[in-house]
Amino acid sequence: MLRQSIERYTAEHYTFEGRWAALKSPRAYSEQAWSDYGHFGWLALRLPQESGGVAAGVRTTAPLMEAVGARLLLEPILASAIVGTGLILRRASADQKAQLLPKLADGTLKVAFAHQETLNAFSEDAISSEYRGGAVHGSKVAVLHADCANRLIVSARKRDVGGTVSLYIVDAVARGLRRQRFRLLDGRGAANLSFDGVEAEPLNASGAIDADQAAIAAALEEAIVASCSEALGAIRALNAATNQYLKSRKQFGRPIGANQALQHRMVEMHLLEQEVRALTLAAQRALSELEVGRTRIISGARAFTCSAARRIAAEAVQMHGGIGVSDELDVSHYYRRLMVLGTLFGNRECHFGRFAATCEAIGH
């Protein structure tokens, strides 16, 4: 149901040709589409029923994330509706929720999760930002959609309780906050943030002292699984485009797809896509079923997806030839989207390492 309505909407209103206006606009996304998503309830999927949602797990939001990849959507769905919303649902107090959730549901509020502090994508980032005297000090880099977010959820060490990493909510135009906006390689907005004593409100649901830390871990796991779905959507669309090109492009008097060497390479891409699909579904199950070894499956899926995506993207460009390198065709946009997905929330090496750490036990 959800899948069909997303596919129908994006096929009509988010074509590659129509997307140029959004891509080139200063905001780097379509306000109209964003407001439509809110209208259709897609931004509220994760919210409880009393807030107009369906209390969906990340598994249920998979069709949405697949569409983000397949249609190269530019709006802050992952940043706000998946990750930011997830943190608020886990750690905001009832009052905070009452204030934030309705606006998240209709899209008038966009949140971004300001967490990463260094350029390192090879392992989990250590947090050195601090919260003291009611304000955040520190800096964050490459925060997805922090360019357009109204509020930021910031991770920082709480000085007075032994430096536990906790979560704070900050107004995006607060005093002392500098935002250096830029585009990611795939055209989506991001920002580097510098906090010079920025007034911040703790997300203050009751909970254990490390509840925020646990919520961050959970939100990052959800982000990883969601980005696997996004990659799956992009891979599927890209493979379909390449396969179609093999049939339509003629050189030496016949379709280039009649060449067995290209056929066998396309078969390999198809196989990788099927493996990414199987692992992504397994990772979704691992999330929602609280299975033992969730890190193993989630980081394993992610590591596999990163390398598969890289290979598929490179092969798609190569098999398209010159046109594959141009900015005019969608192929190079998928290439860049998949590059971005290969780094956000930790790269292949990062997740392969996490996976490998679960392999120590002999046997299985």
């Binding site: 009649a258 396309m266 493996e275 199987a278 193993r296 046997g363």
Partner: protein
């Protein structure tokens, strides 16, 4: 798949694990888990041990003596046996020709052949490949001419596994010439004790005797030993192929090999430390583990698709490709872990008598299986043929 199906399969899994721990003849498990060569008697005991619980034909319908297993149960059966290092479930009777007979055979054929197949009272061989017909099976030239109530069969089959032990061979033969080469092929059951049958052993590079050439020189085959109509052989062969492709064994074998690779890497020394602490080698093992995880996920996904009716014809090809690729890399890496024991080879020690020249007990078997297993990407439809199938059926690419 339904919860009930899942629970049934999990119950079967527990029973099989229990069987592997205590029901399984331990002398056979000792050999198979070391990749040593089993003799005919051992294989027969093994198959009968399985059939003592009805498992050898668990995938057959109840009316023919089976247990009506779901695809999932069949998968679990193969998976668990392979994980435990059990021998190969000899497929020629119970997996290949049996289903052909109960699906396409006459009542007398069913009565005559199915019980001895289920009980492994007959050993079957598969007569498909010929010197000029490997990947291009339809090019087969073994000819059967009808003379009264007998076919007179002439030709040569090759790569015929365990023909040296076989009582019967199911065989594709040409009964007519036709424009379309797939037409005019028929499916015969040939008694290998018939006059005119000559079986010549062919050593493979593990220096063991698995396969044979089978020469057929004016062999008389009663017409009632043809299964299906004359000319329907290609259809039966495709049915058999589809049946052949179940991939529990591939997943289980991979886990078994990975576990052995890990113990070996932990045992072997490498310049004052354990081999596992060599970071490059450790990485190779972990990369292999990720591929096994992917293979398992792909297999269960294919199973789920199959059980919900959404199976694509390309899935079996995909699983065969991936399972054979990852296994070859696993066993090759295991040979690497053996170091110098991985290049010392005495085929005389592969039948269970005496240790290999160097290394652990199973060093010779590992090496043997590595060598023989190079054929895994060749037999049953080479990797190249599988890719062609996927290109055509899943991607719609035409040559």
């Amino acid at each position: 798949m339904s919860l009930e199906q899942w629970q049934r399969a999990e119950r079967l899994r527990v029973e099989i694990q229990e069987f592997c721990r205590s029901g399984m003849p331990s002398d056979i498990l000792r050999k198979s888990s070391r990749h040593l060569m089993l003799n005919k008697d051992e294989y027969v005991r093994w198959m009968r041990a399985l059939q003592s619980r009805g498992w050898a034909v668990g995938h057959w319908p109840r009316e023919h003596g089976g247990l009506d297993w779901s695809a999932l149960e069949r998968f679990v059966f193969e998976d668990e046996l392979a994980r435990a290092g059990c021998p190969w479930v000899i497929p020629f009777g119970v997996k290949y020709v049996g289903p052909v007979i109960y699906t396409f055979g006459t009542e007398p054929q069913k009565r005559r052949f199915l019980p001895p197949i289920a009980a492994t009272d007959q050993w079957w061989a598969q007569g498909y490949s010929e010197p000029g017909a490997g990947s291009d099976l339809a090019a087969l030239r073994t000819a059967a001419e009808l003379h009264g109530d007998h076919y007179i069969v002439n030709g040569q089959k090759c790569w015929t596994t365990y023909a040296q032990w076989a009582d019967w061979m199911f065989c594709l033969v040409r009964t007519a010439r036709d424009e379309r080469v797939q037409n005019g092929i028929s499916f015969l059951l040939i008694d290998l004790r018939s006059p005119g049958v000559t079986i010549r052993p062919v050593r493979t590079m593990d220096l063991c005797h698995h396969v044979n050439e089978v020469w057929l020189d004016n062999v008389r085959v009663p017409v009632e030993n043809r299964v299906g109509e004359e000319g329907a052989g290609w259809k039966l062969a495709k049915f058999l192929l589809a049946n052949e492709r179940t991939y529990g064994a591939g997943v289980g074998e991979a886990w078994f090999a990975l576990a052995r690779l890990k113990t070996l890497a932990a045992d072997m020394s490498c310049g004052g430390a354990r081999l596992i602490s060599n970071s490059g080698f450790h990485r190779r093992i972990d990369e292999l583990e990720l591929r096994v995880v992917a293979l398992e996920a792909l297999s269960y996904q294919a199973l789920a698709d199959m059980m919900s009716g959404a199976e694509s014809s390309a899935e079996a090809s995909m699983l065969k490709l991936r399972a054979s690729e990852v296994y070859q890399d696993l066993i090759e890496t295991t040979v690497d872990a053996l170091g110098y024991a991985g290049i010392a080879y005495d085929p005389g020690t592969l039948h269970g008598e005496g240790p290999p020249p160097l290394g652990p007990d199973d060093a010779g078997g590992i090496l043997r299986y590595h060598l023989y297993n190079r054929a895994a990407t060749i037999y049953g439809g080479s990797s190249e043929i599988q890719r062609n199938i996927i290109a055509k059926s899943a991607l719609g690419l035409q040559p």
